[in-house]
Structures are given as structure tokens and as C-alpha cells.
């Protein structure tokens, strides 16, 4: 099977959907001015679809997001890019008070088939305001769907599903994962929202990881295998709605679990996942559950400090080893 990078996979998914449905359009900053847009995700799309369907705007995240909502409310299927997830904060009123709630507040009159795609993640020395992963904020708001793919296969399949979904979908990408390669079928396929994926099967411990941490978890699993520990790695893929059944089935099998995410620990998505699992599967646990997350500090500029801020393969393996003392 051919291999694509995550970037290429997202690009292909968007192109296919734009070809399929003329209501899909792109809006955001620097989509024309920088080749393929700020991160290259839109390579070739401006040229193919023209300036009516690929709209470059001034720097106005609040208006951008609101316009996305308004366009979605009036029959279109917009994809808005928020250049770095950190800038989502400028658009929060439109995301939280409008996109998430318009349908509910109007008693179902409004349908908002929009996608907000945004690159998140640290590891490129971009410092505190260009490196965050704020998925927890979005997962917390009823009315938003949140996806966070890791592999090229998942990225393409989830993008297509997100565009076809008739609701606001927050599609969170990881800047460092963009260049990761993986198999992507030629024929069309979709990855459904709300389904987790077992990335590696195992028997002794479940590692639940998101986005770039999936790669770290798989690496940790390889190292643990050399110590005779068989780790199962599960990628939720969609954070809201969460496929808790798959996570619990895995924990019931292994009796131990660790949740790994790049975002800092306090009130991160790990707290929610851990709680949901313990609430249901308490009497299946043979060890206390653990989270391995980013440190609760702003992300530093210095590269080595930056690397210390996020979970490492050692920290993940270390947490697993602790659990296996039980």
C-alpha cells in the first residue's frame, strides 16, 4: 500500500470532499499568500478551486469563526483554519457561544456543518503562544465534536467524516506529526467519528494515547516488550464523543492503564478518560490508574526544556513499569 504523510493525507481528504460537494469551501489566513497555506495542508487546493472557494482573509479570528458559523447556518459546509490552536482563544465566543449552541438554542432550527481545523502541539521551538494543545477546552463544551487523529490513515478518514458530519467538528492536527508516514489506501474510505482504534495489541497494560503521543506510546511499547511487558496501545481518535466502550474493553483485558497526552496534566483530557474508566471498570483494576502528561507550565522556548515539558518515551515506560509491580 502506498504511504502518505499526515499532511498529504489531510490534503487528499479535503480535496476529495471539495470535489464531491461544492458547498465545501476553505476560509482562513494566508491560504493563498503562503504555498499550500501556512502549514502546507492546502497544497494545490487554491489553484484547483479558485478564490471563490478558497478565501484568504485578514487576521480576524473572531469574525472568521463567526462567518464560518453564519455560512454553515445558511447552507454551506465551510472549513475554517485557525492557524495555531493557541489563536482559537480569539475566536472562543464564536466557538463556544455560537457554533456549539446555535442549534440547541434555536430548538433545532440551525444546522451547522462546519469544520474548524487547527494545528496544535509543541516540539518546534515556537514557545508558549504557538505550541499548545487545548483540546480539553473544546471537549468540555456540549455541542462540539472533537477529533485528534495521529496516523495518516486516520487523518484522511476522519477529515472526510468531519466534513460530511452535519455538526461543528473541531479537527485538531499535530504540527510535529505532519511528516509522519503511514499506509493510506487508494480507494475511498471513511473513519467514523466516535470510534477508537487499537494501534497495538497487548495483554499486560493499556496505554491510551492521543495525537503525537501515540507514536511515543508505540515506541515505549517496543521497549517494554524487551522487558517482557506486553502493552496495548489504544488511540481514542475522537475525543468527543469518546468511544469509552473500546477503552473499557481493553482495560478489562489488561487490568491496568495509563493515559498519555501532550497537553498539561491538570484538567486535561486524561482526567476525563481516567474518571470515565474508573467509574465503570473499578473492580477490573489490578493497579491504580495513571496519567502521563505535559507539565503544568507554559511551554518554554528552549528546546531541551520544551522536550522536558511533554511526556517522553522514558516517562511512559516508567509509568507502565510502576503499574506492573502490581
Amino acid at each position: 500500500m502506498r504511504e502518505l504523510t499526515v499532511l498529504q493525507a489531510i490534503n487528499e481528504g479535503i480535496r476529495e470532499e471539495m470535489e464531491r460537494d461544492e458547498r465545501v469551501f476553505l476560509i482562513g489566513e494566508d491560504l493563498w499568500g503562503l504555498p499550500g497555506g501556512p502549514h502546507g495542508v492546502y497544497k494545490g487546493l487554491p489553484e484547483q478551486f479558485g478564490s471563490t472557494r478558497v478565501i484568504q482573509t485578514p487576521i480576524s479570528e473572531s469574525a472568521l469563526m463567526g462567518a464560518t458559523v453564519g455560512a454553515a447556518a445558511t447552507g454551506m459546509r465551510p472549513i475554517v483554519e485557525i492557524m495555531h490552536m493557541d489563536f482559537m482563544t480569539i475566536a472562543m465566543d464564536q466557538i463556544v457561544n455560537h457554533a456549539a449552541k446555535l442549534r440547541y438554542m434555536t430548538g433545532g432550527q440551525a444546522t451547522l456543518p462546519l469544520v474548524m481545523r487547527t494545528p496544535a502541539g509543541s516540539g518546534q521551538g515556537n514557545a508558549a503562544q504557538h505550541s499548545q494543545s487545548l483540546e480539553a477546552w473544546l471537549v468540555h463544551v456540549p455541542g462540539l465534536k472533537v477529533v485528534m487523529p495521529s496516523t495518516p490513515y486516520d487523518a484522511k478518514g476522519l477529515m472526510k467524516s468531519a466534513i460530511r458530519d452535519n455538526n461543528p467538528v473541531m479537527y485538531i492536527e499535530h504540527k510535529v506529526a505532519y511528516n509522519r508516514k503511514g499506509p493510506v489506501p487508494e480507494e475511498e474510505y471513511l473513519v467514523p467519528l466516535g470510534k477508537a482504534d487499537v494501534k497495538r495489541e497487548g495483554t499486560d497494560v493499556t496505554i491510551i494515547a492521543t495525537a503525537y503521543m501515540v507514536y511515543m506510546a508505540l515506541q515505549a511499547a517496543d521497549e517494554l516488550a524487551r522487558d517482557g511487558i506486553s502493552a496495548e496501545v489504544v488511540d481514542p481518535r475522537t475525543l468527543n464523543p469518546l468511544d469509552i466502550d473500546t477503552l473499557i474493553a481493553s482495560v478489562r483485558k489488561t487490568r491496568r492503564f495509563v493515559v498519555v497526552h501532550e497537553a498539561n496534566k491538570t484538567c486535561g483530557i486524561g482526567a476525563e478518560i481516567l474518571s470515565q474508566i474508573v467509574e465503570t471498570a473499578f473492580t477490573d483494576l489490578d493497579a491504580p490508574p495513571r496519567r502521563v502528561c505535559g507539565e503544568d507550565v507554559p511551554i518554554p522556548y528552549n528546546r531541551s526544556l520544551e522536550a522536558r515539558q511533554i511526556p517522553s518515551v522514558e516517562r511512559i515506560a516508567g509509568a507502565v513499569l510502576e503499574l506492573c509491580r502490581y
Binding site: R255, F282, T283, D284, L285, D286, A287, R325, Y326
Partner: protein, 399 residues
């Protein structure tokens, strides 16, 4: 104002008690502190005193186990009538009863709650009827994990190799009843003792040290005292002195740690018609011989009457068992958990010694010390025993 009399909690692990008999009659005027009733617990029968003044009204007179906190009577004021106790208590009382039950359960669970076990280990243990107290934990800090419970289950089923903390004991078959025999159910005390001894023998690795003691000097000393102390009293006194000099023996082993006791409380095994009791002489190192002997006499009387205060039956740190008066020359006793050692005393018998003018006969008795090897090694135990022998053979400081 009616004062409730409820089933008292007399030791920290007690879950229930039985009203054995009331010492006073209904309607009698009771004063605070007067003995009121006898309650049987797992350890012994204990005399309970009144907490208040009042006219006695008995609610529960017959003998059946009740949870700690259950209502058993009232002390009423003049002219008061007792509250009606319906079959199902009124909601407030039921709630209070439930609260007490929760407190009692919490406290009684104290024993098993100190057992660290993972949620799935607890679940499987509960489902399979396994007592976690008997399962050895291999997890951190000795927590019991699923693996430990499953191993335990396998052992009971006779399958698999014994693991750590297990003796690979096969469950024995129940003896087939003979036609003319019906099983006698054991009293609470006997049952508790049986279980305790089984657990002690199974979990503490016993080893034994024996020594012969020339009691000549000690007997001469006793003859000078009035009243003449018993041999057991002498042994208690000597052991207390020896323990004071060897604090490493006055310990308990529990879950990977040694607990050194700050008091020397010596229990004395006593046989009664209802089974074995071990009342405790507290701070035995502070009592001179005559006081020790007096205390021992008191406890023997209480043992016959089976009236003990709660604190007379608990917190022993060392036990002495003397079967010499029954002609036994030596024996090996089972340790009284959670103590580290027990001293088995045999009869005084004239034994041959090498003297200055050839063979002499001297009155000597054999001591056998059983030791929990987790708490104490041979050399330390031997030094203790040697000092004990010295204390007895050169009894200047004994009195």
C-alpha cells in the same frame, strides 16, 4: 430520661457480642459503675458496668450474638416507662442502628481494611469466598493482587505449585459422621482460639530453643517469702527482667515490619472449662515478685469465674505456658500472635548435674522457647534464653 444500654465494643476488632447473663434484675436500682451484665466476645467473657444511674429495664435477655451497638436495655428514671421497642425499629432508631452498624463494620473491617488489595483482587476474593487475611500479597507494600488471589485459589484446589506465603495446604476432607455422634459446636472462644492457632502456625515460621534451668536457688528464695510465690510467678518475673534486657524479643512482626513494644505485658495461658484463656499482666517488669504472684492469683480466680475486664485480655507482648503442674517435662507451644515468642515451662524434676563432688541431683526444669523466625534469629533468641536461665539460677534481683 431513659438511658440506652447498647452492646458495647470491648476491643477494637469486635464485631458482635452475646449477652451471657444479666447480673441484676429488672426494676433494680443501678448505680454508675456497678457490674451490670456479662458479655461474651470472641476473646472472653467480659463484665460490663453501668454507665449511668437508673432502674434496669432489660430488652435482650437471651443469649444470641448481636452486633456491637445493638440495644439491649435501658436505665430508666423514676416513673418512666421504657420506650416501645417494635420488631422493626422506628426509622430514626433504624438509622442510628445502621450508623452504628456502619461504624462497627468500619472498625471491624479495620482488620481487613489494613489489608491492601487491588479492586479486582477484592472482587475475586469476595466472589470465591476467600478471606483476604489469609492471602499473601506480592504487590508493592504487600498489596494483594489478582495474581495472588488466583494463586491462593489454585492452592486450595490442590493445583499448581505453592508460591510465597503459602504452605500448599490441601483442604482436608470432612470426617464422615458416625451415626451416634452429633457435632458439638464450639463456643465463640474455642472457635476463635482454633482459628487463631491455625493462622499462627501457618504464617509464623516457628523454631524452638530448649534449655535446662537449675531451680535450686530460686526455690530457696521462694521459701523465704510469705506467701510463697508460685513457680509460674517466678517465671513471669524472670521473663520480664530478661525481656527488659532484650527488647528485640519484645516485638511483633507485621507485613514486613517489626513493631517494638514499649510495654512488657506478659500473658499467662490458663485452662478453663470453656477453653484456653490468656489473661495479661501489664508492665510485668514493674512488678516485684510478690506483686506478680498476687496479680497472678487474681487472674486465676477471674479465669475460673470467667470475669475479665477488657484490658486484662489484650495487648500481650510475650506469653508463658506452664504445664509442669500436670507432670509435663517439656513441650513446644504455639506462638500467640502477634507476639514473637512463647515460653513453654515443664515440671521441676530432680536432674543429674556434674558437681564438685561427682554427680548431684538438683531440681531443674526445662524451658522451651518457640520463636517467630520472621521476628527473631537463633542467636538473639539464644542470648535471651541464656539470660533468662541466669536470672533464675542467680535470683538475687528476682524479688
Amino acid at each position: 430520661m431513659a438511658v440506652e444500654i447498647r452492646m458495647p465494643r470491648l476491643n477494637w476488632s469486635q464485631e458482635s457480642g452475646t449477652v451471657t447473663r444479666w447480673l441484676r434484675s429488672p426494676g433494680e436500682h443501678i448505680k454508675t459503675g456497678e457490674p451490670l451484665l456479662i458479655v461474651e466476645t470472641e476473646k472472653a467473657e467480659i463484665e460490663v458496668e453501668a454507665d449511668a444511674d437508673g432502674l434496669l429495664h432489660i430488652v435482650v435477655s437471651e443469649s444470641r450474638p448481636l452486633p456491637v451497638g445493638a440495644l439491649i436495655g435501658y436505665l430508666l428514671g423514676e416513673g418512666e416507662t421504657a420506650p416501645v421497642v417494635a420488631d422493626s425499629p422506628p426509622p430514626g432508631e433504624a438509622r442510628a442502628g445502621a450508623e452504628l452498624a456502619i461504624v462497627a463494620k468500619r472498625e471491624s473491617r479495620g482488620n481487613s481494611e489494613r489489608i491492601s488489595a487491588t479492586p479486582i483482587a477484592r472482587r475475586i476474593a469476595k466472589e470465591q469466598g476467600i478471606d483476604l487475611a489469609l492471602v499473601a500479597g506480592s504487590g508493592p507494600k504487600g498489596s494483594i493482587t489478582e495474581r495472588d488471589v488466583r494463586r491462593h485459589i489454585d492452592h486450595l484446589a490442590g493445583a499448581g505449585a505453592p508460591g510465597p506465603g503459602s504452605l500448599g495446604v490441601r483442604e482436608l476432607n470432612r470426617p464422615s459422621p458416625w451415626a451416634d455422634e452429633s457435632p458439638i459446636s464450639l463456643s465463640t472462644v474455642r472457635k476463635a482460639t482454633a482459628e487463631m492457632l491455625a493462622a499462627s502456625f501457618a504464617t509464623a515460621p516457628h523454631f524452638y530453643l530448649g534449655i535446662t534451668v537449675d531451680m535450686g536457688q530460686a526455690l530457696r528464695l521462694c521459701a523465704t517469702l510469705d506467701p510463697q510465690p508460685s513457680i509460674t510467678a517466678v517465671l513471669i518475673r524472670a521473663s520480664a527482667i530478661a525481656l527488659a534486657g532484650h527488647p528485640e524479643v519484645n516485638v511483633s512482626y507485621w507485613e514486613g515490619a517489626l513493631y517494638k513494644h514499649s510495654h512488657i505485658n506478659i500473658g499467662v495461658a490458663m485452662a478453663t472449662s470453656e477453653g484456653l484463656l490468656v489473661p495479661v499482666i501489664r508492665d510485668a517488669d514493674r512488678l516485684p515478685l510478690s506483686a506478680t504472684d498476687e496479680r497472678l492469683r487474681q487472674l486465676r480466680e477471674k479465669a475460673q469465674a470467667r470475669h475479665f475486664r477488657g484490658d486484662e485480655m489484650s495487648e500481650g507482648t510475650f506469653t508463658i505456658s506452664n504445664l509442669g503442674m500436670l507432670g509435663i517435662e517439656e513441650f513446644l507451644a504455639v506462638i500467640n500472635p502477634p507476639e514473637a515468642a512463647i515460653l513453654a515451662v515443664g515440671a521441676i524434676v530432680d536432674r543429674a548435674y556434674a558437681g564438685t563432688q561427682g554427680i548431684e541431683l538438683r531440681p531443674a526444669l526445662k524451658l522451651n522457647l518457640s520463636i517467630d523466625h520472621r521476628a527473631l534469629d537463633g542467636a538473639d533468641a539464644a542470648r535471651f534464653l541464656a539470660d533468662l536461665k541466669n536470672t533464675l539460677e542467680q535470683p538475687e534481683g528476682l524479688a
